[in-house]
């Protein structure tokens, strides 16, 4: 009972040291609660495209968990450093290590209970609040609701129980390793000069390099998500290694260059930075990782939101497209024509334009060294998958109003996405020669897909049949063409537009054909949900990560201020004027400030190809838009970072300049 009381008193009396720790822990609990609430929200899966969204945010959730563990250890070490003297005092006053363990145990129990309760409540309130905003953002009819799953609370509670046990073990280990005199003087003992650690530096360079290489070489969006996770982990490891060991190694290297080192402006900075990096490398690396996450999340979601009109156009080149894919299509095509004609009778003021009908053969292939081979139907699409569209010269001449002039093995190639292996290639062993390459096909606008796609104009029907027979031996259904009927239409108002589209859709449904209708308007509606939802989630993650960044910067400034105070006092006595000291302080602060954000921007540059690939999955092909959104995101983030930094730097100056 005595220890319970003492532990409770300690928490109350050490408010100044404990408060930032509590705030951080409550923040972490709340962050995880909100993240898990978002990930486990059953409505997410119901949204079109929700599965990939859930996967993406699941990924984010895992990153948050990893981050929580690191951040908890970080804040705890900060707390521990401040409290070591207190432990030493207890020890001197006759409290054995066993008793100290008990004290620390009870302190952790209280700390856990308080932060988990406050964190879960905060998480619930913020979750609820954010979903209300989201609902507003998506419109009232949105199916996106707030669901409270008990399992989320259980998960977070257990997760933090494990984290607290880890912290307790760290505390105990730390107390065990030190003797009372050391504990008492721990904040005064001289620190050993950090050593250059080449091994860790090299590991850092290798992991970072590999991570970057993978991030850049990702070719297909479908590979992007899984491979990118590995790349992220590598980059995180690389960042921590380089910040912790690489920075010291570099500074030591500079220090061993006497002509550089013994200059008034380098002398103090270099030697101070060595210690500063040793103490703060982990914090700076965390800032860097968090900043990168904010930048990637915001750049992605904002691009998606801004580019949603582009997305719709690239995924739906025509307002309405009806596909029929069956052997002997005439009956179905008649039904399609009738449905369109009926709708036009009903809505005479709707004007149809660009109407056309194209018969095309679509086959997925796998890329091989010499050419292409039919995709194994049991395998899923991957980076080597390519969709081929075959049309005849007749179709081509009708659409392009241009003579095809090809025969035998000759083809006209239109690489919609991706490129051809060369002028000569094989499809299932059939040799083909590219007579010419075209980059657009009038009257048959192509959909932008995440998968490579090539359209080939074949000399005649027989040459197409030959390929199809080789691709699908004995499967008549698979050898049938897809007949696409597509058009744009103008209606006097939105209501008529929707009614017109619905009429055709209902009509077709009644005919029981294989006709499959794709409506731009329908997609636009769901797309608004997805992009709005994503933007919202991006903002939540962005705010969370930015807050975490702010907290770390605060910690860093305070801890550094206390350490540097005495150093600058001595410098002043030895004959350094205030202006020079201010300059040194300023340059150090700026280095520490710019280092993580510059690294974060470099990370972002390497992640850019991933971002582009990922957005391609959602049909956003406008590279310029993504680029400018990313640049704007960086600019805004740097400004926010700078403001946070300025505020905390003030706290630092206050500590350092006191009395002097």
């Amino acid at each position: 009972m005595f220890f319970v009381k003492l532990a409770f008193q300690n928490l109350r009396k050490n408010k100044r040291a404990y408060l930032p720790f509590f705030i951080s822990m409550i923040f972490l609990v709340a962050l995880n609660t909100v993240a898990q609430l978002i990930i486990t929200n059953p409505d997410m899966a119901k949204l079109p495209g929700g599965a990939s969204a859930q996967m993406m945010f699941g990924l984010g959730g895992n990153i948050i968990i990893i981050f929580s563990v690191i951040f908890a250890i970080y804040t705890n070490s900060f707390l521990l450093k401040q409290r070591q003297r207190e432990f030493g005092l207890y020890n001197v006053l006759g409290m054995g290590k066993r008793e100290l363990y008990r004290l620390v145990f009870w302190e952790n129990v209280f700390s856990y209970l308080m932060s988990i309760i406050a964190g879960l409540i905060t998480g619930f309130v913020f979750g609820k609040l954010s979903f209300l905003i989201l609902r507003k953002l998506l419109g009232a009819q949105s199916a996106f609701g707030f669901h409270v799953a008990g399992s989320v609370y259980l998960l977070v509670t257990v997760m933090f129980l494990i984290i607290y046990i880890l912290l307790l073990l760290i505390d105990i280990l730390r107390i065990r390793r030190t003797n009372p005199i050391e504990l008492l003087h721990s904040d005064r003992s001289g620190e050993k000069e950090p050593k250059s650690r080449w091994l860790i530096t090299i590991i850092g360079l290798l992991t970072l390099g590999t991570g970057y290489y993978w991030a850049v070489t990702i070719k297909t969006p479908l590979d992007a998500i899984s491979l990118f996770f590995v790349a992220i982990v590598l980059v995180i490891i690389g960042t921590y290694c380089l910040f912790i060991a690489g920075s010291v190694t570099l500074l030591k290297f500079l220090k061993h260059r006497p002509n550089f080192y013994y200059k008034a402006n380098h002398f103090i900075s270099v030697s101070n930075m060595i210690y500063r990096m040793k103490q703060n490398a982990a914090g700076l690396a965390s800032i860097c990782i968090l900043s990168t996450m904010v930048l990637v999340t915001m750049a992605t979601t904002v691009s998606l939101y801004i580019g949603r009109a582009d997305t719709v156009t690239s995924l739906y080149p025509y307002d309405l497209s009806i596909q029929v894919n069956e052997p002997g299509t005439t009956t179905s095509l008649k039904a399609v024509d009738k449905a369109i004609a009926d709708a036009q009778d009903k809505y005479p003021n709707v004007k149809i334009t660009e109407k056309n009908r194209v018969s095309v053969y679509e086959v997925p292939f796998t890329k091989k060294a010499q050419g292409y081979q039919t995709l194994d139907p049991n395998k899923s699409y991957n980076a080597d998958t390519i969709n081929m569209q075959f049309i005849t010269t007749q179709t081509y001449e009708r659409l392009a109003k241009d003579k095809a002039n090809i025969s035998g093995h000759q083809v006209i190639a239109y690489p919609v996405r991706g490129s051809l292996p060369g002028r000569h290639f094989q499809i299932n062993g059939t040799d083909l020669v590219v007579q010419r390459t075209i980059h657009s096909l009038p009257n048959f606008k192509q959909q932008r897909t995440p998968i490579d796609m090539i359209l080939l104009v074949m000399p005649n029907q027989a040459s197409i049949d030959k390929i199809l027979k080789a691709a699908y031996p004995g499967q008549a259904a698979s050898q049938a063409p897809t007949v696409k009927t597509f058009f744009d239409f103008k209606a006097p108002n939105h209501k008529t537009r929707i009614a017109f589209k619905d009429t055709i859709k209902k009509d077709l449904a009644k005919t029981h054909t294989t006709a499959f209708l794709e409506s731009k308007d329908e997609y636009e509606e769901t797309s608004n949900y997805i992009t709005g939802g994503f933007l919202f989630l991006g903002i939540i993650f962005g705010i969370a990560f930015t807050l975490a960044t702010a907290l770390i910067i605060y910690y860093k400034q305070v801890s550094e201020g206390l350490d540097d105070k005495k150093r600058f006092e001595i410098l002043q006595k030895v004959g350094m004027d205030r202006k020079a000291i201010k300059k040194v302080i300023h340059s150090q602060i700026m280095t520490v400030f710019f280092f993580p954000i510059i690294m974060a921007i470099i990370h972002l540059v390497f992640a850019f190809s991933f971002i582009k690939n990922l957005l391609l999955v959602f049909g956003l092909v406008n590279g310029d838009l993504i680029l400018w959104t990313t640049i704007a995101t960086v600019a805004i983030f740097v400004i926010i970072y700078f403001i946070v930094y300025q505020l905390t730097a003030k706290a630092y100056y206050k500590i350092v300049e006191r009395q002097s």
Binding site: S189, G190, E191, K192, E193, P258, N259, Y262, K263, A264, F267, S271, N272, I274, Y275, R567, I570, L571, Q572, K573, V574, G575, M576, D577, R578, K579, A580
Partner: protein
């Protein structure tokens, strides 16, 4: 011959910010130090000796009165110049050494020279010379936390005299040392004084003071008394200082 250091009617009053009570640390100090002298200023804690030293060091400003160093009134040294002035004309040795823990011994000693933007070529011979005269050549690559108190204080002395200052100010230099290392340090002081270095040392240790050529006693912000060594040995001078101290203390009662 004019004195190197001249202090006239020096007065320092501290105004407590909270209560507004004025505390008079120095009431009327009058002293002169010739070039090449070794002066010890003695007094109990609270006698104002540290305040005096801080003013001499341009770390603090007097309320009234005048301090002249080498013919220059310290009042005319602006805040901006003060740091450079300290670097060029004064050397400091503090009770708690005040070495920078982030620097090696070598870098700690070179610090004032680097701040004066001296070229590395010129610094190294000076470093050699100082290190040799203080017997710390073997310690140059070590870090302060690896050294004993006596060694740290020697490094601090080296840092103070490497700029060849006109005046070396020492604030309780033996305060954190045991008697043996104190002795060694005082030996060093005497030795550099014989080489021509002017020293002003503030202390409350009679033993430390007995090594100086002249001892000033400060009490209640006034110079109370002074003793000259003349031809006395350290031991004789110590006994005389001790007697004076006893006399001064008992007079109070």
């Amino acid at each position: 011959m004019t004195a190197l250091l001249e202090v006239n009617n020096l007065k320092k009053i501290y105004q407590s910010r909270r209560s507004g009570v004025a505390i008079e640390a120095l009431s009327d100090i009058q002293l002169e130090v010739e070039a090449g002298e070794y002066v010890a200023i003695m007094g109990e804690s609270g006698s104002g000796k540290s305040t005096l030293l801080n003013i001499l060091a341009t770390l603090d400003k007097p309320t009234s009165g005048q301090v002249m160093l080498d013919g220059r009134d310290l009042k005319t040294v602006s805040e901006k110049e003060a740091a450079a002035f300290r670097r060029q004309h004064l050397g400091f040795v503090f009770q708690d050494f005040n070495l920078l823990d982030t620097f090696s011994v070598k870098d700690n000693i070179l610090l004032p020279l680097v701040l004066s933007r001296m070229a590395l070529k010129e610094m190294l011979p000076l470093l050699d010379q100082v290190a040799k005269s203080l017997g710390i050549q073997a310690l140059l690559e070590k870090f302060p936390y690896e050294l004993s108190g006596g060694q740290q204080q020697r490094v601090a002395v080296a840092r103070a005299i490497i700029t060849k200052p006109e005046l070396l100010l020492a604030d309780e230099p033996t305060g954190a040392l045991d008697s043996h290392t104190s002795d060694q340090l005082l030996e060093v002081f005497q030795q550099i004084n014989q080489q021509g270095q002017t020293i002003v040392m503030v202390t409350h240790s009679s033993i430390a003071a007995s090594r100086a050529k002249r001892v000033l006693f400060i009490k209640d912000g006034l110079v109370f008394h002074q003793l000259y060594r003349g031809e006395m040995t350290n031991q004789q001078f110590l006994e005389m200082i001790a007697e004076t101290m006893t006399a001064l203390l008992s007079k109070e009662d």
